[in-house]
C-alpha cells in the first residue's frame, strides 16, 4: 500500500519566539498546536491522533494529551532526534492511508536558549550499550560533525570555502525573515574568520540555539476536502536508521542514501523534478553530505554544487532553506526537522517571503537528520506537492 496522495498537511505553525524564558515547555507545545490547528481551520476537538518526541515534557504523549485536553485513539512518540517530526509525518500518513485516523497533530517545543535540561531523552543516554566506548572522548556535537567533515574533505577535496557558502546562502534568505534569530547577510570570509570550534567547523558553520517550536496538522482527504485552507499532499516518504555500521562507520554519507530513494520512488519523481528543498542544517557539512546522498549532485561533488550558487533562492538551481534554516532562522529544541517541513509547505502554498519564493513551486522535499553523523543517525525524507 502506498501513502501517495492519501494524507495532506493542512496546517503548520512556527512559533515566532526565539527566546522564551517566561513560557513553560507545555505552553510552547500548546502555542504551536493551536497555531497549526488554527492555520488548518480545525480545533483540538478534531484531533484524533497526537505525535511528539523526546522534547515533550513528563510522560511524553500521555502528559501532553492530558495537558492539551485531547481525545486520541492513536498516539506515537517515535524518537529519532531532530528528524522525529518527519518520521511522525510518515507514520501519520500511513495511519491515515490505513483509515485509522483523520486528524494528526504533531508538536515540537524546547528551550535550549533559556537553558535547563535539554530535550531528547537525555536520561536514557547513559544506559546506551555504546556509552562506555563513546562518552569518554570529549565529543561535542560540533566535534562529531567535524569528524565527518574532515573525512569528506580528505576523500573528495571538499573545502571550508564551499562549506561556508551554505551559511552564506542561508543568510541571504534569512535577511527577509523578520523572525530569524540571525538576519545579517554574511560572506564566505566572515564564516572563515569566525572562531574555530572543531576543525574544520567554525562558529558560523554551526546552527543557532533557540527556544521555540513548531507544529503541523496532517489530515485525510475527506477532511482536507472540507477545509478552505490549501492542504499540501504528502506524495512520498522514506526513513532510514544508519547505524554505526558494525564498527566500520563510513562518515561520508548519511541514511539519506536510503530514505531519499524510498521517498522519491513512492512519489514517482526524481531529484531532477524537485523545485525546492528544505535540508537539515545542524551544520554546513550536514547540508553538503545530504545533498549528495539524496542525489541532487554526484557523490563527492557537493562542494562544487554548492559553490555554484545552486542553493540561493529564488533562481538557483536548487533553492534551499528559504526561511534561513537552522543556520540562521531557528533550531527550536536543538531539533530542526519541524521547521524544515513548515518552510516547504510555505513554498508550496506560495507563502514564502516574496524575495525567496520559488516561482511555480510544484514539488518540494523536506529532509531531517537526527542523532549524530559521527555515530548513529536517522534520516527521514518527505516529498510534498502543491497539488495531487
Amino acid at each position: 500500500m502506498s501513502i501517495k496522495g492519501k494524507a495532506f498537511i493542512a496546517g503548520v505553525y512556527e512559533h515566532p519566539g526565539r527566546h522564551l524564558p517566561d513560557r513553560t515547555l507545555p505552553q510552547i507545545h500548546a502555542d504551536v498546536a493551536l497555531g497549526a490547528l488554527t492555520d488548518a481551520g480545525l480545533s483540538t476537538s478534531d484531533v484524533d491522533a497526537y505525535y511528539s518526541a523526546g522534547d515533550a515534557p513528563g510522560f511524553g504523549v500521555l502528559s501532553m494529551v492530558d495537558y492539551l485536553g485531547l481525545d486520541c485513539h492513536y498516539v506515537n512518540d517515535t524518537e529519532t532526534g531532530g528528524s522525529s517530526y518527519l518520521v511522525h509525518a510518515q507514520h501519520a500518513a500511513t495511519a491515515i492511508a490505513a483509515g485509522h485516523i483523520d486528524v494528526a497533530l504533531i508538536t515540537l517545543a524546547g528551550k535550549p536558549r533559556t537553558g535547563g535540561s535539554g530535550p531528547g531523552g537525555s536520561g536514557r543516554v547513559g544506559d546506551a550499550p555504546e556509552a562506555p566506548f563513546e562518552s569518554q572522548w570529549g565529543m561535542s556535537v560540533p566535534g562529531g560533525y567535524a569528524l565527518a567533515a574532515q573525512r569528506h574533505m580528505h576523500e573528495f577535496g571538499t573545502t571550508s570555502e564551499q562549506l561556508a557558502e551554505v551559511k552564506v546562502a542561508a543568510s541571504t534568505h534569512a535577511q527577509h525573515n523578520s523572525h530569524a534569530f540571525l538576519q545579517d547577510v554574511v560572506t564566505v570570509e566572515e564564516v572563515m574568520e569566525s572562531p574555530m570550534i572543531s576543525d574544520p567547523l567554525h562558529r558560523l558553520d554551526c546552527c543557532v540555539i533557540t527556544d521555540g517550536g513548531g507544529a503541523m496538522v496532517i489530515v485525510s482527504e475527506s477532511v482536507a476536502n472540507r477545509l478552505t485552507r490549501h492542504a499540501i499532499p504528502i506524495l512520498g516518504t522514506g526513513s532510514f536508521v544508519k547505524s554505526s555500521q558494525s564498527g566500520r562507520i563510513d562518515l561520508t554519507h548519511t541514511g539519506a542514501v536510503r530514505s531519499g530513494p524510498l521517498a522519491f520512488a513512492e512519489a514517482g519523481v526524481t531529484p531532477n523534478d524537485i523545485d525546492y528543498v528544505s535540508i537539515y542544517d545542524s551544520f554546513t557539512i550536514t547540508v553538503l553530505i545530504t545533498l549528495e546522498d539524496l542525489g541532487f549532485c554526484e557523490r563527492g561533488a557537493g562542494g562544487e554544487f554548492i559553490a555554484s550558487g545552486a542553493l540561493r533562492a529564488p533562481h538557483g538551481e536548487l533553492p534551499f532553506n528559504t526561511d534561513g534554516g537552522g543556520l540562521c532562522n531557528n533550531h527550536p529544541a536543538n531539533r530542526g526537522g519541524m521547521t524544515k517541513v513548515i518552510e516547504a509547505v510555505r513554498q508550496l502554498r506560495s507563502e514564502a517571503h516574496a524575495q525567496v519564493q520559488v516561482p511555480d513551486c510544484e514539488l518540494a522535499v523536506a529532509h531531517g537528520t537526527g542523532g549524530s553523523l559521527a555515530t548513529r543517525s536517522a534520516s527521514s525524507t518527505l516529498v510534498l506537492g502543491r497539488s495531487l
Partner: protein, 140 residues
C-alpha cells in the same frame, strides 16, 4: 595537557574488554560463528546475530580514519583545548572513537599510523576504574 579521564562503567557484556584494558592489553570480541571482529564490544554479532562471542588480544595498532582538533567546548574539556578527537581504524578492522594523545594537535592527520595506550581513569567517587583506550602516533 592530560585529558579528562572518566572511567567507563563495565557491564557483564563487555567485562573482558575492560579486564584486558586493566592489564594494558587490547582485547576484542570476535563472532564464534562468522569470525567478524565486533565493535563496540557486546555479546551479539551485528553481522550475523550470533550470540556466540569469544575474545582475543588485538595488535593495538591502526591508523587515523578521521580526526578533528577541538578548540572550543563547554565544561571540563574546555580546559584542555586544543585536543584531538579521532576515529582510529584498527588493523583488525573496527573504527573506534578515541583521542590521540602525547602529540602536537596541529600535526595529527588522517592516515597517521597509531598505537594503543591505556590511560588511568577514575570514577565519580575518585576511585580508580578501567583505563581508557587512547592512541599515540607511531614513529617510523
Amino acid at each position: 595537557m592530560k585529558l579528562p579521564a572518566k572511567a567507563p562503567e563495565p557491564n557483564s557484556e563487555n567485562t573482558p574488554f575492560f579486564d584486558g584494558a586493566r592489564q594494558g592489553r587490547l582485547v576484542l570480541p570476535r563472532c564464534g560463528d562468522c569470525g567478524f571482529v565486533i565493535w563496540f564490544p557486546r555479546q551479539i554479532c551485528p553481522e550475523c546475530s550470533s550470540q556466540d562471542v569469544s575474545w582475543f588480544e588485538a595488535s593495538g595498532k591502526g591508523s587515523i580514519y578521521s580526526c578533528t582538533v577541538t578548540r572550543r567546548i563547554p565544561g571540563g574539556w574546555g580546559k584542555v583545548t586544543p585536543f584531538v578527537l579521532a576515529y582510529v581504524e584498527l588493523e583488525e578492522g573496527p573504527r573506534v572513537m578515541t583521542n590521540i594523545v602525547d602529540c602536537d594537535p596541529e600535526h595529527v592527520s588522517i592516515g597517521d599510523r597509531v598505537e594503543a595506550v591505556f590511560e588511568e581513569a577514575t570514577n565519580r567517587d575518585g576511585e580508580s576504574g578501567p583505563p581508557l583506550l587512547r592512541f599515540r602516533v607511531r614513529e617510523g
